[in-house]
């Protein structure tokens, strides 16, 4: 078992390296001349030179890459072209809202989607099932920001149950913190809920047809235990896999959700940076989020062993 864990952890290192290489290379892969675009139409030759130097175009690729890696390892993500502040500091200021949003979203998503999927599977092909599945396709299709506006319009503007936008730090109380995060989490999670519910349903359907479920019934085990222990534990692997994929959706969607709900997180930072073409910020955000995603996938891999004893070898 320890071998498996060790192997997985070690296998992650080259992936991170490749991600780093790829993210770094984007600068060189973009069509056209990035330096000119960043400098803008109004730029003077001196500005252009400054930008080229900041981006490292005046040095060989590998040298620059090596430097960049070394700096990252020390937590130095460069300086923002626009604000001249260290990028790391800018990101640090915005971490809490984004992390809160993502955490609440995932918790709500799993808590809603898994039982829904189980219900759909148990009542397969019934009206309830079809209704749930259609809602699923809708949830997956309606873009996050549309859902966001819909929820905000209905629950905040019209019904006044929740604040329309903004963020309250956790330090000011759990209640207000949650109140600000509820609508954005539902919006951000809509696609995830649909995806996870669908996968739960199909995994459960396959499991419920297995012989060992018949054995459990022949033993007189209660329906709840059969569903949520005997069946779900077997369905867990594909469900965990799709939860991992959802996190990627989450990261991308956070950018939009923070914009709709005016949450001062990393997503907003990214949007501002895009408009100002502040590439060092973008580069840092992309790299960091990618690493987060890789680590999430690693965690999922390790969680597999908790769920299925056959995976330990």
């Amino acid at each position: 078992m320890r071998h498996y864990v060790l192997r997985r952890v070690i296998a992650t290192a080259p992936v991170v390296l490749i991600v780093a290489l790829f993210v770094f290379s984007l600068l060189y892969l973009a069509p056209g001349d990035p330096a000119a675009i960043i400098a803008g139409d109004q730029a003077t030759a001196a500005d252009l030179e400054r930008i080229r130097h900041t981006l490292g175009f005046d040095r060989p690729f590998l040298v620059r890459f090596g430097d960049w890696l070394w700096q990252i390892a020390q937590g130095d993500f460069g300086t923002s072209i626009f604000t001249n502040m260290p990028v790391m500091k800018m990101i640090g200021q915005r971490v809490e809202p984004t992390l809160s949003l993502m955490a609440i979203t995932m918790i709500i998503a799993v808590a809603v989607a898994v039982p829904t999927g189980v219900v759909a599977a148990v009542n397969a092909n019934s009206v309830l099932d079809r209704a749930i599945m259609t809602c699923g396709v809708l949830g997956f299709s309606i873009p996050i920001f549309v859902v966001g506006y819909l929820l905000a319009y209905l629950f905040a503007l019209r019904l006044n149950w929740l604040p329309v936008q903004g963020y309250t730090p956790l330090s000011e109380g759990v209640g207000p913190w949650l109140a600000n995060l509820l609508l954005p989490s539902l919006a951000l999670g809509s696609a995830n809920i649909a995806l996870i519910a669908r996968t739960t349903r199909s995994a459960m359907l396959e499991v419920l047809n297995q012989d060992y479920i018949r054995t459990a019934r022949a033993k007189g085990i209660g329906q709840m235990r059969i569903l949520f222990l005997h069946a779900l534990k077997n369905a867990a692997i594909p469900i965990l896999t799709v939860v991992g994929i959802s996190v990627a959706l989450l990261i991308g969607g956070a950018v939009v959700t923070e914009t709709v709900f005016a949450i001062p997180g990393i997503g907003r930072l990214t949007v501002d940076a895009v408009l100002r073409r502040d590439y060092p910020v973008i580069q840092a955000v992309v790299f960091l989020f990618s690493v987060v995603y890789v680590l999430v996938n690693l965690t999922i891999d390790l969680l597999y062993t908790l769920v299925d004893p056959r995976v330990r070898y």
Binding site: Q210, D211, Y212, R214, T215, A216, R217, A218, K219, G220, I221, G222, R225, L229, H230, K233, N234, V307, D308, P309, R310
Partner: protein, 329 residues
């Protein structure tokens, strides 16, 4: 005293526009302590009968009629909750496929103890101890270690022993074994049969043993019930059946058993067979449902369903020519 009485059991499966009478008016009873074997080829309805007794048949597109009395109570009238309480506690069941009948992600210990805790209300500690006892009783070595292991770490024979342990851990009145040895190789088969005989001797559990293999039941069954295309066509004590089979189908089955010494000086005998498979139209046929494949069939067979004739005390056969039968080899 009968622990189980099945009266007029009918199971109809609806496929498309038609309904197949998988079990067609079957009746039998099981006395305490006896082992009844239900024998028939694939598709004869024997497994369906067993599943009907346990009320484990799928609910969709299935109709079940008739009475099933367990210890005086009509199982058909019980609400599902009460039935679930009986299952695993008073009636245990062992299935055919040991490789897939155990839950791969739960430990052996969990799968045994959960039955004990559900039906007997034992504490975890007490349940674990009893589970270890049960594993030892079914002949598994190092039971204390096996408790923590998972199904994929056990061989097919061992998994079947675990299944048996689970089925009997609550001391059920009836054990239903649905082809428990079919998926195992011959040496393991013999071991499992010995195990069942031993358990029966020790605890006096009544057993319903379902199989297509007459050789297997010769050893452990007190009575044999032969099924064909959903109907009961012969029933008698074991020795009686082997010595004087009445129904042409039963005779065919006995003749088909491979013998070590067959034939004459002219050379080894060709293996006897009953030609063909059970044709679909045999189910629910107007006349005798074996008429299609019977070597002795006459016009009366196709028109009239043969009544169950009591040929001898304790020996019934559903054939128009039962009393004319002579023992043939």
């Amino acid at each position: 005293m009968a622990i189980l009485e099945v009266e007029g059991l009918k199971v109809h499966f609806r496929t498309g526009a038609e309904a197949v009478r998988a079990v067609d008016d079957v009746s039998f009873s099981l006395v305490r302590g006896e082992t009844l074997a239900i024998v028939g080829e694939s598709g004869s309805g024997k497994s369906v009968t067993a599943n009907a007794v346990m009320r484990l048949l799928p609910r969709a597109q299935t109709r079940v009629a008739g009475a099933i009395r367990f210890d005086g109570r009509d199982l058909m009238a019980l609400p599902e909750r009460s039935m679930a309480q009986l299952r695993g506690d008073r009636i245990g069941m062992v299935f055919q496929e040991p490789m897939t009948s155990l839950n791969p992600v739960l430990s052996i210990g969990t799968q045994i103890t959960e039955t004990l805790r559900r039906h007997k209300g034992l504490t975890m500690r007490a349940a674990l101890d009893r589970a270890v006892e049960m594993l030892a009783a079914v002949g598994i070595s190092e039971p204390g270690r096996r408790i923590a292991e998972y199904p994929h770490q056990l061989s097919g024979g061992m998994r079947q022993r675990v299944m048996i342990a689970i089925a009997i851990c609550c001391d059920p009145d009836i054990l239903i074994a649905d082809e428990p040895t079919t998926a195992l190789d011959v040496t393991i088969q013999a071991q499992i049969l010995d195990l069942l005989a031993e358990l029966k001797r020790r605890t006096g559990t009544s057993i319903i043993f379902i199989t297509h293999d007459l050789g297997v039941v010769a050893e452990i069954a007190d009575r044999i019930l032969v099924m064909y295309a959903g109907r009961k066509i012969e029933e008698s004590a074991t020795s009686d059946l082997f010595e004087q089979p009445m129904h042409p189908y039963t005779r065919g089955l006995l003749a088909s058993m491979p013998r070590l010494r067959g034939g004459s000086d002219a050379g080894p005998a060709r293996l006897h067979e009953i030609p063909g498979l059970i044709p679909l139209q045999s189910f629910g046929a107007a006349g005798c449902n074996f008429a299609e494949r019977c070597v002795r069939a006459e016009a009366v067979c196709r028109e009239n369903s043969p009544p169950p004739l009591l040929v001898r005390p304790g020996h019934m056969s559903a054939c128009h020519f039962s009393d004319i039968g002579t023992a043939s080899s």
